[in-house]
Subunit: 112 residues, 2 copies
Amino acid sequence: MNPETQHYYEGRAAIIKAIAHPSRLFIVEELSKGERCVNELTAEIGTDMSTVSKHLSILKNAGIIGDRKSGTSIYYYLKTPCILNFLGCLEEVIECNMKQQGEILMACRSRK
Amino acid sequence: MNPETQHYYEGRAAIIKAIAHPSRLFIVEELSKGERCVNELTAEIGTDMSTVSKHLSILKNAGIIGDRKSGTSIYYYLKTPCILNFLGCLEEVIECNMKQQGEILMACRSRK
DNA sequence: TTTATATTTGGCTGTTTTGCCAAAAATACT
DNA sequence: AGTATTTTTGGCAAAACAGCCAAATATAAA
């Protein structure tokens, strides 16, 4: 891979990496319903608030979410809602996997 | 997050994590053009063949690619081509980011 | 059976990621 | 100013990841 191509794929991988974590995935889906502050997200996720804050900063750096100050709270919102198509496609992959696992199971049974 | 929800997001994150790497992203795009053997992919990527082999096994475990033996070669193919919609949406995110960076740049300039 | 080719596995090292804690920063209230 | 609330930052230890090498495995050809 030449350096340009390398760079191309690194940039894209960086964005995908940003959502490649259970809590961050949860945050994205949650924000798709409307903006939330760190407090609210922390209560729902159940880890330390500093951990949630760091997850948020990762998503923000990737350009997926944005934030808005209001009083002492900071509200985060989804900046690129098209990320949801992304997640929709995920379901297809999972469905495909499950279907195949089902087939393997059936094959095992019929061989008995 | 209750254990079920946790499990739900972990499963989805695992699939995303599988493609969250430059070489693996390259592999997916390459396989979208047709099946390839480890040899061919290694030549294009330029890392050790053992490294490429491990990337392939990660993608395979995630259910994204499958393999087919032919002589001493093993050909890998895309099992869930819908993963490409995924990548298409990525472009939207990147475009959105670039647009915004452009705006920031313009704002900086006009303030001079 | 030996040899060559293609791929995977095991193991090692360095890097990155995660998540907790404590401390700092920012804002609003008294 | 002092206090409470919300969020971020810095630092640390454990875990996961990446890439190289050498060795093992599998298949085909001589």
